[in-house]
C-alpha cells in the first residue's frame, strides 16, 4: 500500500506520445502528393477568383494583337482573335474544375451508393446491379460520354451545361461502383455489421452510418482520380465540339477550332492549354495516388 501513491505518481508522469499532425505527416510521407495539392489549390483559387489573377478579360477580342507571341503584355501570347491566352487558361480552370468536380462527385456518389447497396443486399440485387455495371463497363469511357452527350444535347443552367456533367458522370458510375463494392463486401462481414443487424437497425442506417464511413478511403481515392479523368473528358468533348462552346474559355476548346489552323504559326496557342490540362490531370492523379498510399493501412505495414 505504501508504494501505491508513488506508483500513481510515476504513472501520471508518463507523457503519452503526441498524436502527429496528419497534414504534416502527409507532407512528410507524400511530398509529391503535397506538391500536387499545392497545384490543385492554385488552380482552385484561380478558378474561384479568376478576376483577381487574370490580366485581361478572356473574351476581349483585339484584332491588333492577333497571334501575338509571348511578351510582357501577354505572358503566354494571344490567339487568333487577339485574346490573352493566360487569361483564357485562368478562366478555363473554372470550367475544368466545375465540370470536373461536379461530374466526379455525381458519378462517384451514385457509384458508391450502388456499390454499397450491391454488397450489402447481395443475391438478386447484387446480380442485377453488377450486370448493369458490366454493361456500362463494356463501353470505353470516351465512347460512352460521346453517346450520352450527343443524345442529351445541351441544357445550360447558370452557364454550366448540366447534360455535359451527366455525360461525364455516367462512365464514372460503374468504375466506382465496382471498387466500392469490393471494399464494402469486406466491411459487410464485420461483426459490428452483424451486431447492427441483430440490434434491428434499418438497412438505410446500417448502410449510411456503419458501412459508408468504412469505405470512404477508396471512395476518396476514386473521387480525386476521376476529377482528373473528368477534366480530360471535358477537354476531349470540347475539342470534338461537343462540350462548351466558343467564346467560353475552356482548355479543350482552346486546342480545337482556330488553334488547329494556326498552331504552326503560333504554337503557344496549343502548348499552354495543353500544359494546363496535363498539369491538372497529373496533379489530381498524383494527389489521388498519394491519398491512397496515405490512407491505405497495408502501405503502413
Amino acid at each position: 500500500m505504501a508504494n501505491a501513491p508513488s506508483a500513481m505518481q510515476a504513472n501520471s508522469a508518463v507523457t503519452l506520445p503526441k498524436r502527429p499532425n496528419p497534414v504534416l505527416t502527409f507532407i512528410r510521407q507524400q511530398p509529391m502528393g503535397a506538391a500536387s495539392f499545392v497545384v490543385i489549390a492554385i488552380m482552385m483559387f484561380a478558378g474561384l477568383f479568376p478576376h483577381l489573377v487574370s490580366p485581361y478579360n478572356p473574351l476581349d477580342i483585339d484584332f491588333s494583337s492577333i497571334l501575338g507571341a509571348p511578351s510582357w503584355e501577354h505572358w503566354l501570347g494571344t490567339d487568333a482573335f487577339g485574346r490573352d491566352i493566360l487569361s483564357r487558361i485562368i478562366y478555363g480552370s473554372r470550367t475544368a474544375l466545375v465540370i470536373g468536380f461536379a461530374s466526379s462527385a455525381l458519378g462517384s456518389g451514385i457509384g458508391a451508393v450502388l456499390g454499397i447497396a450491391s454488397a450489402y443486399f447481395g443475391g438478386r440485387v447484387d446480380n442485377w446491379i453488377q450486370r448493369f455495371v458490366d454493361i456500362l463497363l463494356a463501353f470505353p469511357i470516351i465512347v460512352l460520354a460521346l453517346v450520352v452527350v450527343a443524345a442529351l444535347r445541351k441544357t445550360v443552367v447558370y452557364g454550366v451545361d448540366v447534360n455535359l456533367i451527366i455525360a461525364i458522370a455516367i462512365p464514372i458510375i460503374p468504375r466506382v461502383a465496382r471498387v466500392v463494392r469490393a471494399a464494402a463486401l469486406s466491411v459487410n462481414v464485420m461483426p459490428y455489421i452483424d451486431a447492427a443487424r441483430a440490434a434491428g437497425y434499418s438497412d438505410t442506417r446500417i448502410i449510411f452510418r456503419h458501412m459508408a464511413p468504412n469505405v470512404v478511403a477508396p471512395f476518396l481515392i476514386m473521387f480525386t482520380a476521376f476529377i482528373a479523368q473528368a477534366i480530360l473528358l471535358e477537354a476531349s468533348l470540347s475539342f470534338l465540339g461537343l462540350g462548351v462552346t466558343e467564346p467560353t474559355a475552356a482548355w479543350g476548346l482552346m486546342l480545337s477550332g482556330n488553334a488547329a489552323d494556326f498552331f504552326r504559326e503560333a504554337p503557344w496557342m496549343i502548348i499552354f492549354p495543353g500544359v494546363a490540362i496535363s498539369l491538372a490531370v497529373f496533379a489530381f492523379n498524383l494527389f489521388g495516388d498519394s491519398l491512397r498510399d496515405y490512407l491505405d493501412p497495408r502501405f503502413k505495414t
Binding site: L59, D60, I61, F63, I66, A80, F81, G82, R153, K154, V156, G159, G241, T245, E246, P247, T248, G257, N258, A260, D261, F262, R264, E265
Partner: protein
C-alpha cells in the same frame, strides 16, 4: 512569316506565268478526278436544295436550260438550249433546244422534259419541295410547239428572268420519271449531264463515269470522277497534300491556304475571288424584346464591321463589308452611301453610344439572349465569337449556341430562336435573287425574321419590273435602307473565296460562286 509571304508571292507568280501557257495546252482525255466535298448532301434533288453539297454531288449528272459563261461571268450561255430569243415586250422567252440529247437511261430528251421540270419548279406537286417556286412565280405558261422548242410566257416583265433560267439549281429531269414519281429525284439520278451516276456510298463518296452519249461532242474529258466527303477541314487538307484528292471546289480559309502553299509549293494552284455568299445576323421579330426596332437597331449599331473585316479576313473566309448586294458588283451600294446606313458607320464609338441610348430607352440595358449559330468552324464560329464580343461592349450578355445544321434549321423555321446567324448563298449578283430573302413572311415562307413589311415588298416589286439600271439601283438602295432602318436582318460580312487544286487539274473555271461550274465537263487531268 516572311518565308510564307515570299512563298505566296512565288506561287502566285508561278500561277500567273504557268496559267495561260497551261490553259493553251490541248486537253487530254482520260483519268479519274478525285475531289473533296466538305459536306454530304442529304438528298439528290437540286430543286429542293439550298446547299452547295447537293450541287457538287449532282451537277455532273445533270444539264440545265441555260448556264453562266464563267469565262465572261455574269454572261449567260446555252446548255440544253442551243439559242433563245426574247420578245420585244420582254414577256416571251423562246428556246431552241439541242437535238439528239438522251437521258442516261436512254430516253430521248425533248421540250416536254423542260416543261415538266419548270412546272415542278414553279408549282411543285404535293410531297415535293421546290425552294424556287417564288423565283418562277412570274411564269404564266410553258408551251412546247415541237420537241426542240419551248416557249415561256410571263405574266409581267421580270428583269432577272434570264439569270433565273441560268440557275444551277434547275437540273432538268425526265418528264417520264416525274410522271412516274414526282419525288423521285430526291433518291434517283437520271440526267443528261456529262457523267453517269455510278454509286453513292454514304459517308464515303459519290462516283460517276463518262457519259459516252453526252450531247456536247468530245466532252467530257475525264473517264470519271469521285467526290469524296471530307467533313473535317484538316482531313481534306491532308488528303489534298497527299494527292488523295486533287481539289476542293468550295473554298478554304486563308490559314488553310497558307499552310498548303508552304507544304506544296508550286504543285498547288491557288485561285481567289470575292464570293456571292454572306453571313447575316437576323432577329426573330415575333419574340420580345426583338419586336422592338430600338433593340434590334442597337444591336446592329454595336457591330464594328470595318474593324472586324480587317481581323476576320486574316483568320476566316469573311472579308468584305457590304449591303444586300455583293460589294463591287454593278448594283452594289457604294461605300460612301453604305456608311450612312445603320450598322455601317465608321465611327464605332458614336454608334455604340447611340446603341446604349436606344437600349436604355427601350428598357433593356441589361439585355441577355441566346445567339443561334451552326457548328461549322468556318466561318460560322469566328462570326459568332465576333458578335458576342461586339455586343458585350454595349453591356449585352450573349450565350452562343452552336448546333448541327438540322436542329439549327428546325429552330429557324419554327421561330424557336431569338437572334441567329444566317447565310445567304447566291449564285449571281442579280439583286432579285438576294432580295427575295427579305420579302415579307406572308410572301416568302423562308423569311426567318418573321416580319411583314409592305414597303419592302413594294420596293422589291419596283426593282424587279424596272428596266432602267439607274432607277433599279435607286429602288434597291431604298429597300436596303428600309431593311436596315427597321433592323430586321443585316449582312455581317461577305465571304472571300479561295480554291486550292493540284496544277494537274485543268479546265475548271473559278467564279464568285461555288454553286457554278461544277458539271466537270471541261475538266481534264494533265498527267
Amino acid at each position: 512569316m516572311r518565308k510564307l509571304v515570299l512563298g505566296l508571292i512565288g506561287v502566285a507568280a508561278l500561277s500567273l506565268a504557268a496559267g495561260p501557257k497551261a490553259e493553251a495546252q490541248q486537253p487530254k482525255r482520260g483519268g479519274t478526278l478525285n475531289f473533296a466535298i466538305s459536306a454530304e448532301t442529304p438528298q439528290y434533288d437540286c430543286h429542293g436544295s439550298d446547299t452547295y453539297a447537293t450541287l457538287h454531288f449532282s451537277s455532273p449528272f445533270y444539264s440545265t436550260l441555260l448556264r453562266y459563261n464563267l469565262n465572261k461571268f455574269p454572261d449567260v450561255e446555252g446548255d440544253l438550249a442551243k439559242s433563245w430569243t426574247v420578245s420585244p415586250d420582254k414577256k416571251t422567252y423562246t428556246f431552241t433546244l439541242h437535238d439528239g440529247v438522251k437521258f442516261h437511261d436512254g430516253t430521248p430528251f425533248s421540250s416536254a422534259d423542260i416543261k415538266a421540270t419548270y412546272d415542278r419548279l414553279r408549282n411543285p406537286p404535293k410531297g415535293v419541295v421546290s425552294t424556287r417556286s417564288a423565283t418562277f412565280a412570274d411564269i404564266e405558261s410553258i408551251e412546247t410547239p415541237n420537241p426542240t422548242t419551248v416557249v415561256f410566257k410571263l405574266k409581267s416583265v421580270n428583269s432577272s428572268m434570264l439569270d433565273h433560267f441560268a440557275s444551277p439549281w434547275n437540273c432538268v429531269y425526265s418528264a417520264k420519271d416525274l410522271a412516274a414519281d414526282p419525288a423521285g429525284p430526291r433518291t434517283k439520278i437520271n440526267g443528261t449531264g456529262p457523267f453517269v451516276f455510278v454509286e453513292h456510298v454514304k459517308g464515303s463518296h459519290v462516283a460517276g463515269k463518262r457519259n459516252d452519249a453526252y450531247f456536247k461532242k468530245g466532252l467530257p474529258y475525264l473517264d470519271g470522277f469521285r467526290g469524296i466527303f471530307t467533313l473535317q477541314a484538316a482531313a481534306m487538307l491532308n488528303a489534298l497534300q497527299g494527292g488523295q484528292v486533287l481539289a476542293e471546289f468550295r473554298g478554304v480559309s486563308p490559314a488553310d491556304r497558307d499552310r498548303m502553299v508552304s507544304a506544296m509549293g508550286n504543285k498547288l494552284r491557288v485561285e481567289e475571288s470575292s464570293w456571292t455568299l454572306n453571313l447575316l445576323v437576323l432577329f426573330n421579330t415575333e419574340k420580345p424584346p426583338f419586336n422592338d426596332v430600338r433593340v434590334r437597331k442597337a444591336l446592329l449599331l454595336a457591330i464594328d464591321r470595318w474593324g472586324g473585316s480587317k481581323g476576320l479576313s486574316r483568320i476566316s473566309t469573311l472579308r468584305a463589308v457590304g449591303g444586300v448586294v455583293r460589294p463591287g458588283s454593278p448594283l452594289a451600294t457604294p461605300e460612301a452611301e453604305l456608311v450612312k446606313l445603320p450598322g455601317f458607320g465608321k465611327d464605332i464609338k458614336a454608334a455604340r453610344a447611340e446603341a446604349r441610348r436606344l437600349l436604355k430607352e427601350a428598357g433593356h440595358e441589361k439585355l441577355k439572349f441566346t445567339l443561334w449559330n451552326r457548328n461549322l468552324a468556318m466561318p460560322y464560329t469566328p462570326a459568332g465569337i465576333f458578335l458576342v464580343d461586339q455586343w458585350r461592349q454595349i453591356g449585352v450578355e450573349v450565350e452562343h449556341k452552336q448546333s448541327d445544321t438540322a436542329p439549327y434549321i428546325a429552330a429557324m423555321r419554327s421561330g424557336n430562336y431569338e437572334v441567329a446567324i444566317d447565310f445567304s448563298n447566291l449564285f449571281n449578283d442579280d439583286p432579285t435573287l438576294s432580295l427575295t430573302k427579305f420579302l415579307s413572311a406572308s410572301k416568302n415562307p423562308l423569311n426567318l425574321a418573321r416580319y411583314d413589311d409592305p414597303e419592302i415588298d413594294r420596293l422589291y416589286e419596283l426593282q424587279l419590273r424596272e428596266g432602267d439600271l439607274n432607277k433599279r439601283r435607286a429602288h434597291i438602295q431604298a429597300l436596303e435602307k428600309r431593311l436596315f432602318e427597321q433592323a430586321y436582318q443585316q449582312p455581317i460580312l461577305w465571304w472571300h473565296r479561295i480554291v486550292l487544286s493540284h496544277k494537274t487539274v485543268m479546265g475548271w473555271k473559278m467564279s464568285p460562286s461555288h454553286n457554278l461550274g461544277q458539271d466537270l465537263a471541261d475538266v481534264w487531268l494533265n498527267q
